[in-house]
C-alpha cells in the first residue's frame, strides 16, 4: 500500500565541505573538551615517539618494560578518548535528536562524531609526535651532551614519525567508535517530553 513513487524521495546528503565545517565549528564551540581530548592523544603519541627515539639502553629488561609502558599508555589514552567523546555525545542528546528531526540519518550522526574525533586525532597525533621528538632530544642532550645524536635511535625517523602518527589516529578513531554508535542510535526528539 506504500506508494513511495508519489513522493520523490531523494537521498539526504551534505557536501563534504559543509560536514567538515560543521565538525570544526562544533569543536571550536566546545574548545575546552576538545583540548582535553587533544592532550590525551598528544601525551600518548609523544611518549611513543620518545620511546622510539631515545638512546638505546643495554639492559633488555629495561627495553621490555618501556615497551610495556608504551602499550599501557596507549590503552589509557584510548580509554581517555572514549570517555571524553562519550561525555560529549551524551551531553548533546538534544542537539542530536533535533538534527534527526531535521532529516539527519543515523549514518550522518555516526559519521559526524567520528569526523570530530578524527580531526582531534590528526591534530593531537601530529603535535604529540613533534613534542615527543623534542622531549627525546632534550633528555638525550642532558645525558649525552653534544654526542646526543649518535646516542639516539634516529634511524628511519620519517618512518617512525608516520608510524606514531597513524597509531595516534587509529587510537582516536577506535576510542570514538562506541560513542559514535550511541549517538547514532539516539531517538529523534519526542515532540513532547515528560508525557506518555
Amino acid at each position: 500500500m506504500n506508494d513511495a513513487a508519489i513522493w520523490d524521495i531523494g537521498s539526504l546528503k551534505l557536501s563534504p565541505e559543509v560536514v567538515c565545517s560543521m565538525a570544526i565549528n562544533s569543536l571550536r564551540q566546545r574548545i575546552g573538551r576538545a583540548v582535553l581530548t587533544l592532550l590525551t592523544i598528544s601525551t600518548a603519541t609523544a611518549f611513543m615517539m620518545y620511546l622510539l627515539t631515545m638512546p638505546r639502553s643495554e639492559d633488555p629488561v629495561d627495553q621490555q618494560s618501556w615497551r610495556l609502558m608504551m602499550v599501557l599508555s596507549l590503552l589509557v589514552s584510548g580509554a581517555g578518548v572514549l570517555n571524553t567523546m562519550l561525555m560529549s555525545v551524551t551531553q548533546r542528546y538534544r542537539e542530536i535528536g533535533t538534527m534527526k528531526c531535521l532529516g539527519a540519518l543515523d549514518t550522518f550522526i555516526l559519521f559526524s562524531v567520528l569526523l570530530e574525533a578524527a580531526i582531534l586525532g590528526l591534530a593531537g597525533a601530529f603535535a604529540g609526535a613533534i613534542f615527543g621528538l623534542i622531549i627525546s632530544i632534550l633528555l638525550a642532550l642532558a645525558d649525552h651532551g653534544t654526542a646526543l645524536f649518535s646516542a639516539m635511535q634516529i634511524d628511519g625517523l620519517p618512518g617512525k614519525f608516520i608510524f606514531v602518527f597513524v597509531v595516534g589516529m587509529l587510537l582516536t578513531t577506535l576510542g570514538a567508535l562506541f560513542p559514535a554508535f550511541i549517538a547514532s542510535k539516539m531517538p529523534p526528539m519526542d515532540a513532547m517530553r515528560g508525557e506518555k
Partner: protein, 270 residues
Amino acid sequence: MNKPSDTPTSPPDTRNASLANASSIDDAVEYTVMTRDVVKIYRMGETEVRALDGVDVTIRTGEYISIMGPSGSGKTTLFNAIGGLSKPTSGNVFIDEIDVAQLDANELAWLRCRKIGYIFQSYNIVKVMTALENVTLPMLFGGVPPDEAQDRAVEILKRVGLGDRLLHTPKELSGGQQQRVAIARAFANQPAIILADEPTANLDIHTGEEIIELMKEMNRERGVTVICSTHDHKMLDISDRIIWMRDGKVQRIARRDEVEIEINTMKEKH
C-alpha cells in the same frame, strides 16, 4: 465547552475505499493528515497501557488545529505518531496520502526533513550555530544547494523579523527570538505540516502573543497545515478547529466558531 461527543466531525467512514476514490463532496477537499484507527500500546512491565485507543482524525490542507488534553490523554502519543517519531501499534497515519507507519528509517528521515516542520517548547535550535546556519541546515539536508539555501534562509528570517540578527547565536537571542528562528527553520523546507509542541509555554504573555500571531500569518500566507498542542487560550482563539483528547481517544472536535473561549478572565463564584 464541555460536551463530550463520540463522533468527530470528519467525512464518512471510507475504510474500504482507497483515498483516491472520494465518494462525497467532503472527500474531494484536500486532506493533508488522516489517521485511521490508530492504536498505540506500551508495555510497562506486566501491564499494557493503551496510549491511543483507536484515533480517527482528518485534517485539511491549510488548517490550523489545536490539540488539547490532560496528561495521559494520548495527546503526546498522537503527536509523535503524526510526526513520524514513533510507529503506532496498529492503524494508519497518512500524510499526503503516504502511510508513514510503513516507512523505513531512511524514508522517515526524508519525511521529517521535507514534509514536516517541528517547533518545540524549548526551541531546540542548535546552540553552536548562528540563526542563519540554523535555518539553512534542514535545507542542506534536503539537498538544496548552499547558495540557494542561504538566500532562502535570509528571506525567511527577514519575514519573521530577524533580518538584523542573522549572524547571532542563540546565546545572543532572547527566548522569543529563538522561537522565531525555530519557526523560520520549520517553514524553511516548505513542509506539508508544521507540528508545534506548546510553542508559547516558555514565553511571557506578550512574546507568546507575537509568536502566535506570526504562526497564524505564516499559516495563512503559505497555506501550510499547522497542528499545535497547547494550553494557551490565545492559540485556541486563532485555530480553525480544536481537538480534545481523553484516555487515548478523541473526545471532541469542534470548529472555532462553535466554541466560546475565555481569555484571562475569572468569574466570581456565586
